[in-house]
């Protein structure tokens, strides 16, 4: 199934926007975790946790889901396919893994925001360290997927080679 060129361009544009937006939102999240780690309990420290929660639920998650969906549309609607080229398949696997970890982080981030907003004493340092590690990992994955998308390194999967042989056989 190949999409018309105009639709393909639109899907690709949406994919680039959501993917780069996802990466940028994770960088913003990391800035907040560093603020939360380095600042002692203060208005800025208290504000960082609800900001992380909002950023996660209203920006990072929608952008991640949007990136996945537009990526699926772009690959399936073009000659690249989803499972023909290693760079596309690898990108899909990394994005799926990053999204799964992200979805598992929503609840802990929400709990940290609630704890920071409460009046009582609470030690959020372990939780914040965990968020920083997860966000750093996510950032590395997203930079990797961006590099793969730009460089498109060579390599056909077994399925891709078979499809190529079939296409060559038909053209002869």
């Amino acid at each position: 199934m190949t999409l018309p060129p105009a639709v393909r361009k639109l899907a690709l544009t949406a994919h680039v926007v959501t993917s780069v937006g996802w990466l940028g939102a994770v960088v913003a999240f990391l800035a907040l975790t560093v603020t939360a780690l380095t600042a002692s309990p203060s208005p800025a420290w208290r504000a960082a946790y609800p900001a992380m929660d909002l950023l996660t639920r209203h920006a990072i998650v929608p952008l991640a889901v949007g990136s996945l969906l537009t990526g699926l549309l772009s690959s399936l609607g073009s000659s690249w396919g989803l499972l023909r080229h290693y760079w596309v398949t690898t990108k899909l696997g990394l994005a799926l893994a990053a999204t799964a970890v992200l979805l598992l982080q929503i609840e802990p981030i929400g709990h940290a925001a609630d704890a920071a907003g409460s009046a009582g004493p609470t030690d959020l340092r372990p939780a914040t360290s965990s968020m920083t590690v997860h966000a750093t990992g996510g950032l590395i994955v997203l930079v990797t997927t961006t590099v793969l998308a730009v460089y498109k390194p060579r390599g056909l999967t077994r399925y891709g080679r078979r499809r190529q042989r079939e296409a060559a056989g038909r053209s002869q």
Partner: protein
């Protein structure tokens, strides 16, 4: 478009190896407790925070 290269490219093997190492490290961290307690309980272990249930996402700003 990329050329046909027989076999799995080296860069794919490197990424797969890195992913396996990261997953193993995560499993070891969870099993040994190095990564700390996982789950919501880790955020509610100190002070009166543990008394109340978390605010549902729909009620947050």
């Amino acid at each position: 478009m990329t050329d046909a290269v027989p076999g799995t490219p080296r860069w794919v093997k490197v990424i797969v190896a890195v992913v396996i190492v990261v997953v193993l490290l995560a499993v070891v961290a969870v099993l040994t407790g190095i990564g700390g307690e996982h789950g919501p309980g880790r955020h509610t272990s100190a002070g009166p925070v543990a008394a109340g249930p978390p605010t549902p996402p729909s009620q947050r700003a």
